[in-house]
Subunit: 302 residues, 2 copies
């Protein structure tokens, strides 16, 4: 998986940084997570193909997480999209988008599906051959979900040298071997799968948690993920403000990462009040060392 940051700042407009939006790359597919204003400009800037996006996940209906969506959907029409788009978002976004299409007399010429979310519990919202997506219920000033994307285990790899020692194993049998099955000879004897295959690369997982107050009850859900993006709008010295506005501090994000034993933590959604974003890494690394800050244009490969 690769995580591409398109925008990672909070709502206050600035000239050089963008509000929340990111792409999770799985094989040749791009999952769009949040869509702050200007995200389509960022897609162009960093040369991500619009057409590789099929699934869009919106965490909550604050403008800095979705104001860029309608422009992106309109642009897809202009560039001749024909494949479907699926949007997973809180109840209400469908009405916002559809009203704009109606009043702008925009005929969307590709299949557009809204999957509106309202459950307070984690739910499986998408399953493909390669991965699943579950919601992570967060707590913010408005109904909010994070998203947990988990690759399915890949097929085992044939150990060709081992397989060739058994002329009785013909190529038609490879399909089952890759799926972990033992090989059964005509006489009923068995060659165990472990002798013939190698384990697949480990399945990766990614958790996106923005925006939220410090919420340790998400820990079982995001346990052991390879990469956790967690909002850190404030530093610990503004903890009261974080609590009041239902945001997290860098230290709190690090505490979540530590308790969930994630492999790596990326911080984002920085308030504009701070002069340097490295203050967030400094604060978090005192609790959890494997940490970095998000930045527009940055890619995390894992």
């Amino acid at each position: 998986m690769k995580l591409h940051i398109l925008g990672c700042h909070s709502a206050t407009p600035r000239s050089t940084v963008f509000p929340s939006s990111q792409l999770l790359e799985i094989n040749n597919e791009l999952l769009l997570i949040d869509a702050g204003e200007g995200m389509q400009i960022q897609l162009r800037k960093y040369k991500h193909k619009f057409n590789k996006i099929q699934y869009i996940f919106i965490s909550h209906l604050h403008g800095d997480h979705f104001f860029g969506l309608v422009g992106f959907l309109s642009s897809l029409r202009l560039i001749g999209r024909d494949k479907p788009i699926h949007i997973y978002a809180p109840v209400g976004l469908k009405a916002i988008i559809e009203l704009q299409f109606k009043l702008t007399k925009t005929d969307i010429n590709y299949p557009l599906f809204f999957h509106e979310l309202s459950s307070p519990e984690s739910e499986l919202i998408l399953e493909t051959d390669q991965y699943t997506v579950k919601t992570i219920p967060l707590e913010h000033r408005i109904y909010t979900n994070g998203f947990l994307i988990q690759e399915k285990p890949a097929l085992r790899k044939l150990n060709i040298d081992a397989v060739k020692q058994y002329p009785e194993i013909e190529t038609w049998a490879y399909h089952n071997l890759k799926r972990g099955k033992d090989f059964t000879r005509e006489d009923g004897s068995i060659i165990s799968n472990e002798k013939l295959t190698l384990p697949p690369p480990p399945a990766k997982s990614y958790a996106y948690c923005s925006d939220t107050i410090y919420k340790p009850d998400i820990i079982p859900l995001i346990k052991d993920v390879d990469l956790l993006y967690h909002e850190a709008t404030f530093l610990e010295k503004h903890k009261d403000l974080a609590t009041k506005t239902k945001h997290s501090t860098a230290k709190q994000a690090a505490q979540i990462a530590k308790q969930a034993a994630v492999n790596f933590l990326v911080l984002g959604h920085f308030s504009s009040r701070y002069t340097s974003e490295y203050l967030f890494v400094k604060e978090a690394s005192e609790v959890f060392g494997e940490v970095d800050i998000a930045r527009e244009g940055k890619t995390f490969e894992f």
Copy 2:
């Protein structure tokens, strides 16, 4: 007046240019004309103060002319706006904005007034002490207005050297002199205003025409304006496409400028199909010499 270009390109998203949005500066006030996505980023980039904007004019409800508005209005709330905002826009924009505020649970903490437009005729929509704003009915695929902003004539200037030759003219009389009145002595004799004052600087005028098919019946309305911004989405070689999509070519924009005897023409709303925007100037200047292209960050002073 000064015209500041924030964005001047058509809808196709690009990484380095922005859709339509501009500021007309009159004295210390900024009128916002159209609000394509990312316009608040451009305001920041070019250091225009959000709070100098009180009046917003939206030509039509195509996304590349208004998708940036909701983000801008949301940001005004964040930065503690208290002065009113007035928006002049086609019927429908109010519903779009209000639905988003409702679903994002945004309480706008400043007075926000919508003035919805639907007349097919030119109308006076705003009059202040210093200027008037009238609509320019355009013809596009959707109900569209341009805007004509005309300064009111300033006060005449006292010719102090001349005034001082008449000790009978006391300072209380200056008010009327500046307004063009003659001075009447106690004996009833008159000193004519021309002897005592100098003419004011000429009142300036600006016309914004985007998006529209070639529409010569706007000429009487924009006659003699100091600056005309006219869309030129296409070059003449794509005239058929211009007609079909109800846009103009650079040549057609120049013909409008010539027939209206404007002082200067600025072209904008360029399609992304052309490699160089100078092609638009080249084509237009064969018809009308006083022409330039709009570009993000450029200011035209007149």
